[in-house]
Amino acid sequence: MNVDEKTTLPQTDPEAHESFDLVFLDPKTIRFEYEGNNLTLTDSDGRHYPLVTLRRCYPLSASETFILVRLPDDEDQPGRELGILKDCRELQPESYQAVRQELRLHYLVPVIQRVHHIREEFGFLYWSVDTDRGAKEFIMRDSIISSTRRMSPTHWLLIDINQTRYEIRDLEALDHRSQEMVKKYLLL
């Protein structure tokens, strides 16, 4: 992590000198910890960052690898990238827990586990589902094309009217009744 070296470069053009090399963080020597609701990072050199945020590079296809660690955005500019965690499962157990928690908070994408019922009214679908985050009712536009994304024949994203995404990871892993309902209303 040569973050400080970068800032010593001439200030004329911060972007022109940006390197295209990926900076990987060493999972064994860095530490993530919560202070209150702030995720903090202590890097290999012992430098402490009181608030960092995480981004997944591949939120759907590889949710625990290629995790970006960034400083928070401020009013003027986007947060600086500190580096990439290639696989967060290689972190120390406590750090891994903290990272998982932060990703869970940042990515509010409930995974549907069971469908109780789906009702259609006035051009909207009303869903009542169980998710990995608890029971939820949400409302989706009745336009299959604009409010669903098909990752694969069995992997779907449903986009509700607030643009919140609900994930069906594996349609075939749902119970039979849920599957039938989803198939019926998503016109599969």
Partner: protein, 757 residues
């Protein structure tokens, strides 16, 4: 809510009482226990997530001195955070995925307070805004009004699903909408009356034939009482058929005429209204949605009017036949009702079972079409990267899907159709049996039975159609409501009714006086901008993207009104001028030149349609466009724009410069006029612009800073504020933002091998 000193406290405690009402008891209790004052509550806002990101409940409570966050679990409230308001310097809502978080800065440290889902983002943004205000103004800050976030039904307060409507479908006042629609249709009332009369006579004509056949069978064929009636009865039946044909034709013609004319009228009213709306409306509504509303909604309205007319017809018919059946033979009339549920069930089942199949097929076709579209548009890329096989696979898969969808329709139809025929046929069989029994027992005549069966054929069809009535009425009122709401939309930027505009020649001085503006008032794009431009000055506006350059220009054109402060031309506030006065004196050349479909001459004369041919040529010459135009086979009569001849980017730009020259405005705005063309074209445009800027106040937003070297002054914007202002030389010496931007560009220019500076 007003919080000035002379306002009584009761105002704020009224708010506090409202908030206490929505607050769950454990939270209230814990809040008071921790030292909060419930009767001084300013904000009580619930998050829909718990601290672990599960669906749950956390409360943000703010009274006049402190901020609390409570988590509620199993009816227990626990304090998560507590801050003294005076220590909070900043508050921000930071978007995450599917939700956002609220973050505050207190005692020099940033703290993440809580997460919430997208649904609540707007409300927490209001709360953050309040906290920021509070940090600046102290107790003067006004607590936000959450009821006005524009996402709730104005009638019942439930969340709005369809943002194109201000009320939810449940709250549409159908009666009111219908009344307004009927009033709107006033010119067609007399035609409508004729239509209704036609409809009634049509029903009577429909009801007569079975009546005649009864006489034919009973009195002529069976009992042979009046054998000489045969000819007349058949002739009568023939006559009725002829009349029926005439009525049907005129009915159809009239309905279509009314609905088409009515829809065209609505469409025209909508367009007339659309062009009067200010730009902020177009920001809020994407053009695709507007297109749908004007084209699709009116078309659907037309279809629905036709449908409504046929529903009226069916209703009259069903009632008419019902009355006739029951009066002919009350006992048999009862039997008619027996298959009715069967018919209704079959219809409902049809819509439930068959329609999804059709929709599935449409979707698969749509996917295939859009894939084909992308493929054709990107054929060069496909070839260049040799990915034909991948595209082939994609197409095959989609084609297979479409095939399956089509098969499902055919199979479902194959299974379903016999069932429908059975449902309709079974009704007839019941009548045959029950009626036959009655005939054998001599209670009714054979003619009556035959008449009955005749009526029956007319009865079930309309009846099954009527199951769709409620759906059609819903659709009808929703679309009408949408249309009315659109027509009721008032432009935000409004022309003041000015007593007799005195057309005073504008000199071209521009002043910004403490101007703050944001497309969303909570997120200002320009912050407290003040400057003065003298008439005839050439001003360059520079700055990184997102700094507010184009917004500045939008305010000068009065596409928007500033949130606070004022923009003045020659000392006069823009809001005091007529649109015509403003636009006549301001010419714009945009980055993406826009040509309307029409000839080049029409495009040049767009803002001044009465311009003479000489003027047009003179303007084109000044814009350095004359040569290329006259080299075109159709010269100035060349049709451009959609479906017209393809002009290059530089040529289009020069046509649009000619347009600005012809208008001869005092103030000229060049919004990155040369950024989308190559170097040679840029040189040509630059030449054209040199003629254009002479003697005018010019504001040039430029990406290529080399073009600004002869500017009188440069305004450098950064994050909505003026970072620097002065002559190019001064700013170069100052080594600030402008200097840096120039440095970057000259570095890139060296890379390109093109010396710019």
């Amino acid at each position: 809510m007003n919080h000035h000193q002379n306002q009584p406290i009761s105002n704020s405690s009224h708010l506090a009482k409202d908030l206490q009402r929505i607050l769950p008891y454990p939270a209230l209790q814990a809040f008071e226990k921790e030292g909060g004052f419930a009767d001084r509550l300013q904000i009580a806002l619930a998050s829909d997530l718990d601290a672990n990101g599960n669906f749950g409940e956390q409360w943000l409570l703010i009274d006049d001195a402190s901020l609390f966050v409570f988590a509620i679990q199993n009816g227990q409230a626990t304090v998560q955070f507590c801050f003294i308001l005076a220590e909070i310097r900043d508050a921000q809502v930071e978007p995450c995925v599917g939700g956002s978080l609220l973050r505050i800065t207190a005692q020099g440290k940033t703290h993440v307070l809580l997460h919430f889902s997208n649904e609540l983002t707007e409300r927490f943004a209001l709360a953050a805004h309040y906290l920021r205000q509070r940090a600046q103004l102290g107790a003067e800050a006004e607590p936000p009004d959450f009821s006005s976030d524009g996402q709730r039904c104005v009638s019942c307060g439930n969340r709005l699903l369809d943002p194109s409507l201000k009320v939810c479908p449940n709250c549409i006042k159908r009666g009111q909408v219908m009344r307004r629609l009927i009033l709107m249709a006033k010119p067609y009332w007399s035609l409508g009356g004729v239509l209704f009369a036609l409809m009634l006579s049509g029903v009577i004509v429909d009801l007569l034939p079975p009546f005649l056949t009864r006489i034919l069978i009973d009195d002529v064929l069976t009992n042979k009482l009046h054998t000489n009636w045969l000819f007349w009865l058949v002739a009568g039946l023939f006559g009725l058929q002829v009349v029926r044909v005439i009525i049907t034709i005129s009915h159809a013609l009239l309905t279509n005429r009314i609905s088409t004319q009515f829809a065209a009228g609505v469409r025209e009213a909508m367009f007339a209204h659309l062009k009067s709306l200010s730009l902020d409306f177009f920001d809020r509504n994407e053009s695709g949605r507007l297109l749908t509303r004007i084209n699709h909604d009116t078309e659907e309205l037309q279809g629905l009017i036709n449908q409504m007319a046929s529903f009226t017809l069916y209703t009259v018919l069903v009632i008419g036949i019902g009355v006739v059946l029951f009066s002919m033979a009350p006992s048999l009339g009862f039997f008619v009702l027996i298959p009715t549920p069967l018919v209704l069930a079959a219809t409902i089942l049809y819509h439930k079972r068959m329609l999804p199949n059709f929709r599935r097929y449409w979707i698969s076709r749509w996917r295939m079409n859009s894939m084909l579209n992308t493929f054709l548009a990107g054929i060069q890329v496909v070839k260049a990267f040799a990915q034909e096989a991948q595209e082939q696979n994609r197409y095959t898969e989609l084609n297979q899907n479409a095939l399956h969808a089509r098969l499902r329709i055919d199979q479902a139809w194959g299974k379903f159709f016999p069932f429908i025929s059975f449902a309709f046929g079974a009704g007839g069989l019941i009548i045959w049996y029950a009626g036959g029994q009655s005939v054998l027992e001599g209670r009714i005549s054979l003619g009556t039975l035959m008449a009955f069966l005749g009526y029956l054929g007319m009865f079930y069809g309309p009846l099954s159609n009527m199951t769709q009535i409620s759906q059609a009425i819903n659709r009808f009122t929703t679309i009408s409501q949408r249309t009315f709401e659109f027509l009721d939309e008032t432009p935000r930027v409004q022309e003041k009714a000015i007593a007799a505009a005195r057309p005073k020649p504008v000199k071209g001085g521009i002043e910004f006086d403490g101007v703050t503006f944001g497309y969303n008032p909570y997120f200002p794009v320009l912050k407290d901008i003040t400057f003065r431009i003298e008439p005839g000055e050439l001003i360059g506006v520079v700055g990184p993207s997102g700094a507010g350059k184009t917004t500045l220009v939008n305010l000068i054109c009065r596409f928007y009104d500033p949130t606070s402060g004022s923009v003045r031309i020659d000392g006069q506030d823009l809001r005091e001028m007529t649109f015509d006065e403003i636009r006549r004196n301001i010419g714009i050349v945009l980055q993406q030149p826009f040509l309307f479909s029409g000839t080049i001459a029409q495009n040049i004369a767009y803002a001044k349609p009465d311009a003479s041919r000489e003027d047009i040529i003179r303007a084109a010459k000044a814009a350095n466009a004359h040569d290329f135009i006259t080299n075109l086979p159709e010269g100035y009569d060349t049709i451009v724009g959609e479906g017209g001849a393809g002009l290059s980017g530089g040529e289009r730009q020069r046509v649009s410069i000619a347009r600005a020259i012809l208008l001869n405005p005092r103030i000229l705005i060049l919004d990155e006029a040369t950024s989308s063309v190559d170097t040679e074209a840029e040189r040509q445009i630059q030449k054209a612009l040199e003629t254009l800027v002479q003697g005018r106040t010019t504001i040039a937003i430029a990406h290529r800073l080399s073009t600004l070297y002869n500017a009188d002054r440069i305004i450098a914007l950064e994050r909505g504020k003026i970072a620097e202002m002065g002559s190019p030389q001064e700013l170069m010496n100052q080594k600030g933002l402008f200097y840096n931007l120039v440095q970057i560009q000259s570095q890139f220019a060296r890379l390109d091998g093109v010396p710019t500076v």
